[in-house]
Amino acid sequence: MDPAAIKEEMLSKYPPKVARKRAKQIMINEALENETPEITANVRTIPGIITMRGCTYAGCKGVIMGPTRDIVNITHGPIGCGFYSWLTRRNQTDATAPDAQNYMTYCFSTDMQDKDIIFGGEKKLEAAIQEAYDLFHPKGICVFATCPVGLIGDDIHAVAAKMKKKFGDCNVFAFSCEGYKGVSQSAGHHIANNQVFRHLVGAEDEGKPGKYCINLLGEYNIGGDGFEIDRLLNKCGITNNATFSGNSSYDQFASAHTADLNAVMCHRSINYVADMLEVKYGIPWIKVNFIGASAAAKSLRKIAQYFGDQELIERVEEVIAEEMPAVQAVAEEVRPRTEGKTAMLFVGGSRAHHYQELFKELGMKTISAGYEFAHRDDYEGRHVLPGLKVDADSRNIEELEVEADEALYSPRKSEEELKALAESGLDFKSYDGMIPDMDEKTMVIDDLNQYEAEKMVEMLKPDIFCAGIKEKFSIQKLGIPMKQLHSYDSGGPYAGFKGAINFYREIDRLVNSKVWGYMKAPWQENPELSATYVWE
């Protein structure tokens, strides 16, 4: 089907205002002369349109701070927000060390009642922080505001500061991440990261030892992805000082300024932190992607190239050579069953791009993709950044002003070194976005909603559809396998080489499952009554 016709068909049901708005978020990838057409992203969802998006609180407490095991995260609000973000994301953590603290299995809430809404919740919050401190004596306590908190005007930052001072040995800080701020989770990522940068990074001068020391930014260890990446880095002799924020701990954040390179996985959720770490401490950043075997190999090579030591460069090649045959063997085995099949990906702020790599390795074609909460630069590349319009919703989200730290700023590479590296093909601070990697005539759709998803599946009949839990079963009811790329349907890891193998097998299982052939009963396939039943 012609994509323009599909687009028109999809828009035809909307009221005119909605159609006009959605038209700008649905883009047909027509490779124009060296430039991609503009897509509208990071704008409000239209009321009543069933969106995939969540809220700022979910992005802040759930996504960014959720994976840190040794901070007590207290949700300040009525019970629901805290309840739903309790263990529902699959960020794994390794708390096996004998004295390791792990609060991720707990849900802490001030559980505000009507009298707190009427008279204010500061007293209750203060008491809750005290109770948490008395019970657990954690290194850190974080406080997260939910919608009503902003409205009733509780000063959560003042309460946090007061308690921090009172305790002396516990870092207490707060996040104004009310769900109505911003237009999606993305605002919450930003609010979270700003506070981590402000209250944690730089607090601890002892990082992990190692000759090649990096931070991995924007990797959340869903299904153990981060463990697999760490395995590879370790094997290469690269130290991962701190992951933001998969499998993270308080101390890792605190010493993030001691690493020599920042490798950014999810550009959307954290690119600004990479920028701030560079300005304040002098650590350069590069974009990496460990989703897809060849992307993972490329990322390892980029890191080695940055450090430039022959020893490391060789070690990385050895590791790749060691790991690749197993990956290729599975790819070859699976490919005859996946080759030529089609996929649609609507998820997150980077996964809809990254996972196209894995599908490519399976010989599958991504015919449509889009993000749930990304911005234009994630679609079109960072070159659009200077021209981005700052609307009222984005203005709400604080941009930290940072400058070089007097004591701690130390450029890891000189200007000349950076230039030489750039000339040899290592791109710093660079991300070209999803669109250039997609074929002509594919459809790129931002903030896809339930109605459009159903339409797309009906019209284009992909062999697999990827999104989140809310979309899972309406798609599968249509007889199309659906793979969750937030929670991985309890699977994973899918990152790195072992992850690639897992993913190949998983997709093979899904698209070739016998179940899709069971939709119709024999009497539905052949409804006509035959004359007589044939007895033995």
């Binding site: 009543g48 349109i49 069933i50 739903y84 299995t105 769900g179 839990i469 009811k477």
Partner: protein, 459 residues
């Protein structure tokens, strides 16, 4: 240890809830609304609440859960959400074509003070609600009560659609409370067996336990129709199954439509089911069919056959008041020992009722039902007084693993097992299923733990 920081020593907590045994009102309203035919629930607030509620229900039912949101941004939060709701109502009827939109509020719109009846009235006047379509609503501030309260409020919102024509319809309204689709189906089957014509509302059967057939129906066949809800005002009476989930709606019909009501316990376990069946046959003036007495006899039979394994086993439970009351009564009736009971849903009557039900036991049960009646406290109680079995939702698996106690999953949410959509736990057959689950848990544990010399083939 997964809950390694939970100390045995219990200290007073007033402000901090840890591992709640409840969630917030709107999800209950959303679940209830899904039990109306052709209904699209709508969350009036920021989009996060709606995303959370849909996700939680989806994980529990493994079915599509559609619901709209007013997608508040900062502006709506300051100036009120009227414009958002009007636009949402218009968009939903245009794009998704539901029969009914069921609006519930969130903490945000409640704190702002949006006036739902007024906004819906305006939507009607502005012609945003197509002819023959409906909007029902409930106020569901989450800083009051719990998910159970939200369910109850939406049920009341349904009752508000009842009309009284003066001509009785010969039917009995049954409000099943927050039970599974399979339970609602079972209540309909039981009523049919007894011969009572009922209007069951809400009714999620056929909606949240649907088939896979290659077709996606946003609004499946099941659910209480709007016509039935309207007719509820002409019914002979209303049976509300559970004080917390169902009584408000029933009493509303009593006051407003002169439809008398009785509040019964949820028909879970032998005695509560007996009372339900007995009430139904008296209302209908019929005798209970042999088939049903037979089912009852089967339940009694399994209690007697396996009594030795139930006898004096200690149980800790977390869940919702209506369900727990019937469950505790059931456990006591088979000589098990409910030992610790928590519900995050407030209501002093609950603790009193549990104490009454367990009065004959040789010890006093630990029971709590308020803000700090959470799973953290339950865990501490268990550390001080160990139990043989846990009954409750999937979150209990963390305690189960740490303390090595078998767990029967029952309640909401169940995120990691199947069956609750398909097999009821209400009625006699439901009782048999519950006992099967309890026995499996206890006997699997016994098989695991018995020393080789006393490992049993026949049990």
């Amino acid at each position: 240890m997964l809950l390694r920081h939970t100390p045995q020593e219990i200290t007073e907590r007033h402000a901090l809830t840890i591992n709640p045994a409840k969630t917030c009102q709107p999800i209950g309203a959303m679940y209830a609304a899904l039990g109306v035919h052709g209904c699209l629930p709508h969350s009036h607030g920021s989009q996060g609440c709606c995303a959370y509620h849909r996700s939680a229900l989806t994980r529990h039912y493994k079915e599509p859960i559609s619901a709209g949101t007013s997608s508040f941004t900062e502006g709506a939060s300051v100036f009120g959400g009227q414009a958002n709701l009007l636009q949402a109502i218009d968009n939903m009827f245009t794009v998704y074509e539901p029969e009914v939109v069921a609006v519930h509020t969130t903490c945000l719109s409640e704190t702002i003070g949006d006036d739902l009846p007024q906004i819906i009235d305006k939507a009607t006047k502005d012609g945003k609600i197509p002819k023959g379509k409906h909007v029902i609503y409930a106020n569901t501030p989450s800083y009051v009560g719990s998910h159970v309260t939200g369910f109850s409020n939406m049920v009341k919102g349904m009752a508000m659609k009842a009309e009284t024509t003066g001509v009785k319809n010969g039917k009995v309204n049954v409000i099943p409370g927050w039970v599974e689709p399979a339970d609602m189906e079972e209540i309909k089957r039981l009523s049919g067996l007894i011969g009572v014509d009922i209007i069951l509302f809400p009714d999620t059967s056929g909606i949240l336990n649907g088939p896979l057939s290659g077709e996606y129906k946003m609004f499946p066949e099941g659910g209480t129709t709007m016509a039935e809800l309207q007719s509820a005002g002409d019914s002979i009476g209303t049976l509300a199954l559970g004080e917390w989930c169902s009584a408000d709606g029933a009493r509303y019909l009593d006051t407003n439509n002169k439809v008398p009501c009785r509040v019964l316990d949820m028909p879970i376990g032998l005695m509560a089911t007996d009372r339900f069946v007995d009430a139904m046959r008296i209302i209908a003036g019929v005798s209970v069919p042999e088939e049903l007495s037979h089912e009852r006899g089967q339940l009694v039979d399994i209690i007697s056959d396996m009594h030795q394994y139930f006898f004096h086993k200690k149980v800790a439970l977390a869940g919702d008041p209506d369900q727990l009351i019937s469950m505790v009564e059931f456990l006591v009736s088979i000589d098990m020992c409910p030992t610790h009971v928590v519900s995050g849903t407030p209501g002093k009557a609950f603790a009193k009722r549990i104490r009454e039900l367990t009065a004959g036991l040789p010890y006093e049960v630990n029971v709590k039902c308020d803000q700090t009646a959470d799973m953290f406290l339950l865990h501490q109680w268990i550390k001080n007084e160990p139990v043989d079995l846990l009954i409750g939702n999937s979150y209990l698996k963390y305690i189960a693993r740490d303390e090595d106690i078998p767990l029967v999953r029952w309640g909401f949410p169940i995120l990691d097992r199947q069956g609750h959509q398909y097999f009821p736990t209400v009625g006699y057959k439901g009782g048999i299923r519950l006992l099967e689950k309890i026995l499996n848990a206890l006997l699997d544990r016994k098989d695991r733990d018995d020393p080789e010399q006393s490992f049993e083939l026949v049990m």
